[in-house]
């Protein structure tokens, strides 16, 4: 093998990670809005717009560049794609109008389909959240929280409840949460039908 070494940098000792486009193509084909990431110009506005930026292992921007680089394993096993809470800050601010939220969700679903698992925490929360929606057609915050906390086991659940006590009181105080249980929305059965159908199409379900 004949090699010329650049004068400024020099080879960093052996090959770097191989770039290839096969994963990018896989994403374009199989992930909802996947093709939109082509437009990303790596400005990073999404990264800092995300309320969960501190929890994410990779920012959306980094996810996109990893996809282009072909780093399939890193992307599909990343926690970042599972964490999106659909606040839409990134999507609204993206200067290239990449629907970051949709792509992140798309990636999460694709990862699940490919057998990747979210963190237990994330999965548990998603499961309880989904259950709530399915049952009520809306979110009853205290119900979701309660189920999520207790999902950790009784002792741990009580500990978590105590830790989050002040937030709960605050939410009650500011009327962000009701004391009484939420009632199901009108015609919740029709909603369930829609959700079932979506799930059958591979577009829904708890992450």
């Amino acid at each position: 093998m004949d090699q010329v070494v650049g004068p400024k940098y020099g080879s960093r000792g052996g090959a770097g990670k191989a770039y290839n486009q096969s994963f990018a193509r896989e994403v374009y084909r199989n992930v909802d809005s996947g093709e939109e990431i082509k437009m990303c110009m790596q400005c990073g506005v999404c990264a800092a717009s995300c309320p969960l930026k501190e929890k994410m292992d990779f920012s959306p921007r980094k996810i996109f560049t990893l996809i282009r680089a072909g780093q399939r394993e890193k992307v599909l096993s990343s926690q970042a794609i599972m964490l999106c809470t659909s606040c839409y800050s990134c999507k609204v601010r993206c200067p290239r109008k990449v629907p970051v939220v949709d792509v992140m969700h798309g990636l999460a679903h694709y990862a699940l389909r490919q057998g990747y698992k979210p963190r237990a925490e994330t999965a548990l929360f998603g499961q309880k959240f989904w259950g709530n929606i399915y049952r009520l057609g809306r979110i009853d915050e205290k119900d979701v929280a309660l189920r999520y906390f207790l999902g950790h086991g009784l002792g741990q659940g009580i500990k978590l409840m105590m830790e989050n006590k002040n937030m709960g009181i605050g939410m009650l105080w500011y009327k962000r949460m009701k004391i009484l249980p939420e009632r199901p929305i009108k015609n919740v059965k029709s909603l369930r039908k829609m959700l079932d159908k979506a799930k059958a199409m591979g577009k829904g379900g708890a992450v």
């Binding site: 090699q3 650049g6 940098y9 080879s11 960093r12 990018a24 437009m39 790596q42 560049t65 290239r96």
Partner: protein, 711 residues
């Protein structure tokens, strides 16, 4: 001409309250024997102006001294046709900045007036220089895209054009171009070179010379004699002005071995890529197989201090265009672009988006190493700045180096100017013709010769077309100005020109060497041969001449010298030093005016003399001033050096060099070298100006009074 002097003093705008007007009048009537001397409390008002007009029409007054505000204002009101006129500024320079009723204020006003009246005494009305057998033809050197556009531009404005192209066909680089990228930057456009050429050929005003070269250009604007060689024979044609549109060359990729060029067959340049696309398929040179994996390396040699330090501006767009070729050939092909910054300014950002949409992969980073396997596939290791990792691009069919543009002006033989100062346009450190950048980018250092297109700076085709059109305007403008004997930029409309009293010339060559515009040739005995249509009337030659033989009708060594002599120098006992400030009329003078408008006090011991450019300052003025008892001289001019602001390019620099030699003169007079200072000042420095002046005055006051006072 028999001069009849009329002096008109305005007492409005606070002048009357500040000064003893009767005493001022006495200067005119007693010292200068002015037959007419009138005052008015509103000289620029209808009544005041009518009063002057009546004197001009009825009383035969033909030499006017308007003693009022700065000549920068009310220029339209004080316009009395073809008379000699001078404006003496006693408003911004005196009444607005010095204490009213003060003795020193009065002395300054009187000295200003004396200087103005001496100036009129020493001036005669200009007679424009009329060259003979003027041509209105425009010569365009280079028949590429810029040259063709320039030729059509001038032709359609009604001017005959000679278009000289060294190749057999017009079109230049466009002959190699596959497609064009141009507004609205949504998709690639055909080159349409045939249409362009047809348009040129159809233009009756354009005479085309192909396979032709410029052997020599002699003369000057209006009277350039151009020798064109074609097919072994030469013809000489007279033209009025010249456009150099000789274009660019790709940077020599053989110097880019570190990027694999010349070493691996499948590493090519963007120029080769363009030709390949034009010829059909994009393939691997090694085996002719279709290229499916292509990497573009941006800034190949550009933005690199070891090669071209500048950015070639268009390579990003070119690679985006060529990426599109690859994708059009096979939408599934992989296209990588390794870049430092993607530079798609203005609306061309749209095309960046298009290539992203087509699936181009952009990698911000730099190449570490490139290698080739047994099948001639290339592999590139790069540091990816956004992944923050070292990456490997494998099995590449083709690596395209986006090499930059080198101006053809580096090679001086395109124009073969018969100029004492060399055959080409003076160039900047990168070989692009130097110009009065930023505000006047067309103004080269050779009058009547303009540049267009990529020889001037790298530019995309759409901008090139506009640029060439602008250059065409400058050529016809130069032709028309020359025809009436007027100067071109920046002293547009100036009808004076330097006259050489050759009988006293000592062949010292200073004028021929120092002219910033190469206007003066030399004969074999080193006599200066001025080409007056090349002259920009800056007076640098006049400043250079030790024999004082170069003069303008209204600007001469004698004139300024006499003005200095006209200044009253108080005795040493009076403790009123006198310092002369020679100030550039373009920047320092307006700055002084601004100090006036802002009522910032100025030291009253200065006497300001405005000069065309510091380059026109003759050492004899300084010697004379000091010999007469003036305590110091300060020169205020524009910034020099790489980012020079002098509109005559070298004026302030030359003044500096000359002043370095003044110590000799000062030594002869046994005076301290600190008595002469040169300062750079810009037009906005009106608040710094008093500081500079006060600082110098403080230094002068520390010295003993000039012992030559009273001589």
């Amino acid at each position: 001409m028999d001069k009849k002097l009329g002096v008109y003093i305005c007492t409005g705008c606070g002048i009357g309250e500040s000064l003893d007007i009767d005493a001022l009048k006495k200067v005119a009537s007693k010292e200068f024997k002015a037959p007419v001397c009138k005052t008015h409390s509103w000289l620029c008002g209808t009544e005041g102006v009518e009063m002057i007009k009546a004197d001009v029409a009825g009383d035969g007054v033909n030499t006017l001294s308007i003693v009022a505000c700065s000549p920068r204002v009310k220029y339209d009101v004080f316009d009395f046709g073809p008379v000699l006129m001078d404006r003496v500024n006693i408003r911004e320079q005196v009444a607005w900045v010095l204490p009213a009723g003060d003795e020193d204020t009065q002395m300054m006003a009187e000295d200003n007036m004396r200087m103005g009246l001496v100036k009129l005494n020493k001036s005669t009305p200009p007679e424009p220089y009329q060259a003979e057998n003027l041509s209105k033809t425009v010569l365009v050197v280079g028949g590429g895209f810029a040259g063709m556009n320039a030729a059509v531009g001038a032709a359609q404005a009604g001017y005959p054009v000679l278009l000289v192209e060294k190749e057999a066909n017009l079109g230049g680089f466009m002959n190699k171009m596959n497609k064009r990228i141009r507004p609205p930057y949504k998709e690639l456009k055909p080159v349409d070179l045939e249409d362009q050429i047809k348009k040129v050929e159809a233009e009756p005003n354009i005479k085309i010379f192909t396979s032709a070269q410029i052997e020599k250009i002699a003369g000057g604007p209006g009277v350039f004699d151009v020798t064109i060689s074609q097919n072994g024979s030469s013809t000489t044609e007279r033209v009025g002005s010249v456009i150099q549109a000789t274009g660019w060359k790709p940077y020599d990729a053989n110097k880019l071995e570190h990027l694999g060029y010349g070493k691996f067959p499948n590493v090519i340049t963007n120029v080769q890529m363009e030709e390949m696309a034009k010829n059909g398929k994009i393939t691997r040179p090694s085996d002719g197989k279709e290229a499916k994996n292509v990497l573009f390396i941006q800034c190949a040699g550009s933005r690199d201090e070891n090669h071209l330090a500048y950015c070639s501006s268009v390579c990003c767009l070119v690679s985006l265009k060529q990426a599109t070729y690859v994708k059009e050939q096979d939408p599934e092909a992989a296209v990588y672009i390794l870049y430092k910054d993607i530079r798609t300014p203005h609306q061309s950002e749209d095309f960046y988006r298009k290539v992203q949409k087509d699936g181009g992969i952009f990698i911000r980073g730099e190449l570490n190493a490139i290698s080739e396997d047994g099948n001639k596939n290339l592999s590139v290791e790069a540091s990816d700045a956004l992944l923050n990792e070292t990456i490997q691009l494998e099995e590449l069919d083709l690596v395209v180096l986006a090499v930059g543009m080198v101006p053809t002006s580096i090679d001086e033989t395109a124009l073969n100017l018969d100029y004492r100062q060399g055959p080409g346009l003076p160039v900047n450190k990168y070989g692009f013709p130097d110009s009065n950048f930023i505000c006047f980018p067309y103004e080269t250092q050779r009058t009547g010769i303009y540049t267009a297109g990529c020889v001037r700076s790298p530019m995309e085709t759409a901008i090139c077309a506009e640029d060439a059109t602008g250059a065409a305007l400058k050529t016809i403008q130069c032709i028309e100005s020359t025809a009436i004997g007027s100067s071109t930029f920046p002293r547009s409309g100036d009808m004076t020109y330097p006259e050489f009293m050759m009988s006293r010339c000592t062949q010292c060559k200073r004028c021929t060497e120092e002219c910033p515009f190469g206007a003066i040739n030399e004969d074999e005995k080193a006599n200066p041969l001025p080409n007056l249509t090349r002259c920009r009337r800056c007076g640098t030659c006049m400043g250079a001449c030790p024999e004082r033989i170069i003069s303008f009708k209204n600007y001469s060594v004698d004139m300024i010298g006499s003005m200095i002599k006209g200044i009253e120098v108080p005795d040493a006992d009076d403790e009123k030093p006198r310092v002369i400030a020679l100030i550039c009329e373009n920047d320092a003078y307006p700055a002084l005016d601004m100090a006036g408008i802002n009522r910032i006090p100025i030291d009253p011991f200065y006497r300001f003399i405005s000069v065309r450019c510091l380059g026109s300052v003759n050492l004899v003025w300084i010697a004379d001033a000091l010999a007469k008892g003036i305590d110091g001289v300060i020169l205020l001019g524009c910034r020099k050096g790489d980012d020079y602001q002098c509109h005559f390019i070298k004026g302030s620099e030359l003044a500096n060099t000359r002043m370095e030699k003044i110590s000799e003169t000062l030594g002869r007079l046994a005076l301290e070298p600190e008595r002469v200072r040169v300062e750079e000042i810009s037009i906005n420095d009106y608040d710094r100006l008093p500081v500079i002046l006060n600082d110098f005055m403080a230094r002068i006051k520390e010295l003993e009074p000039n012992p030559y006072k009273g001589f």
